[in-house]
């Protein structure tokens, strides 16, 4: 029913598939073992028997997704764009489950999400290096950061897929959405947004100027360094955020 390859239809694989689907659709916290078990046609106890715990099940799903993506890695080479686009349009639904789960992994900031992001980043970086080497892509003043940026740009429509779907009126994994998104995206990647380099030049100047002092941002009417104000010594601290505020927390 849900398994792509019938030979994968061992019970554990069926449970894992159901878990990926549920986690991808409703998130980890909002999915119960009993739901997953029901989807797979087994008891909740069996899920634990096979995977140990809910968290271990998630890790198994993470591993599966990473392997699944690695398997597709060769497809990432040599962008014969025309062929690739056709292929998407011809292969509907194949990756939808994985994509939903991927988005959940990245959004939940799990260790698996970090692994996955690094994987995609490596791929993107390699692609950019090839492109720069063969002259098909521009060079960058900060190739590593550009790789991170472009990776995140590629992920953005996935992470915001429900907003895209709402605004476009069709799911982003529909042929219609892919078709509509292709050209504007490539236009942007080819010509950029700005008609000239005025802003870029202005930013270069501003950054050069700023790097002479150690002060940030001359741009606004407030030259005073407003560095990291909160949590300062004058803070009475009723405490409402514990270790918050640092994305690398927990």
């Amino acid at each position: 029913m849900r398994s792509t390859r019938p030979e994968d239809a061992t019970t554990a694989a069926r449970i894992r598939d159901a878990a990926v689907a549920r986690f991808g659709a409703h998130g980890y916290a909002d999915t119960t073992l009993r739901e997953i078990a029901a989807d797979a046609g087994v008891s909740a106890a069996l899920v634990v028997h096979h995977f140990g715990s809910k968290e271990a099940l998630r890790q198994a799903c993470d591993d599966w997704l990473v392997r699944e993506l690695m398997g597709e890695k060769d497809r990432l080479d040599q962008p014969a764009v025309a062929a690739t686009i056709r292929e998407w349009l011809d292969d509907p639904g194949r990756f939808r489950t994985s994509i939903d789960y991927l988005a959940v992994m990245l959004a939940d900031d799990t260790p698996g999400g970090a692994r996955l992001f690094d994987l995609l980043l490596d791929e993107t970086r390699a692609m950019l290096e090839r492109g720069v080497a063969d002259g098909s892509m521009r060079d960058s003043s900060d190739p590593e950061l550009r790789a991170v940026l472009i990776t995140s740009y590629g992920l953005a429509p996935l992470l915001l897929r429900s907003q895209f779907a709402r605004v476009l009126g069709t799911p982003i994994d529909s042929a219609a959405a892919v078709r509509r998104m292709t050209l504007p995206t490539l236009e942007f990647y080819t010509h950029g947004l700005y008609a000239d380099a005025r802003l870029l030049d202005a930013a270069r100047e501003a950054l050069d100027a700023a790097s002479e002092t150690h002060a940030p941002e001359p741009r606004r009417a407030d030259p005073a360094p407003r560095v990291r104000s909160d949590k300062g010594p004058g803070n009475p601290v009723q405490d409402p955020d514990p270790p918050v505020g640092d994305p690398a927390r927990d």
Copy 2:
């Protein structure tokens, strides 16, 4: 107490602030009313007394965030959400909490998240129209979709802020990160990625070729998509592709 404006320090406001912080840091599902109550220095029952339920509390937080952003709307003069957000980040302590909560709203696909996305989209669209009108920005074959794309590109670093922090070695709401991100982002927005239009042309061809087979309807009244076509008959429309993070493919 922790609130920006001391007159907001009513108990309900303190609870709401604590909720925004917790929800932003750990997500809605993983936050308990008792935690929020403890942060605000009150009992869990009082939270319900003031807001009615956990879900109603979330909605109050959503409303607060939207109003907070609307208040900053005049500042949204700058080009591109990316730049705007960077501007917020120049003022680190002030918006960090809101930004975390914003990311959670969008990721959780709540009604408030839709409202917020539409708000940002409107802002971006207006900015693009102004830019095109005064010649500082290029035109697009599909302005509406481009607005959605650029909005999502601006949000991407926020949604993936933990990955950015990990890879860059510094939180994205640090002056260092902002400084490092500025130039590559503007380079990309100014010159694009590709050195020539080969890929773009190839995609145009591919889409034209695919459009031999009749078309679906654009949902909206605005700019008609120039690409149309539907792939085959009997197609359970949806589609494909994990190779995210790879621009050559979008």
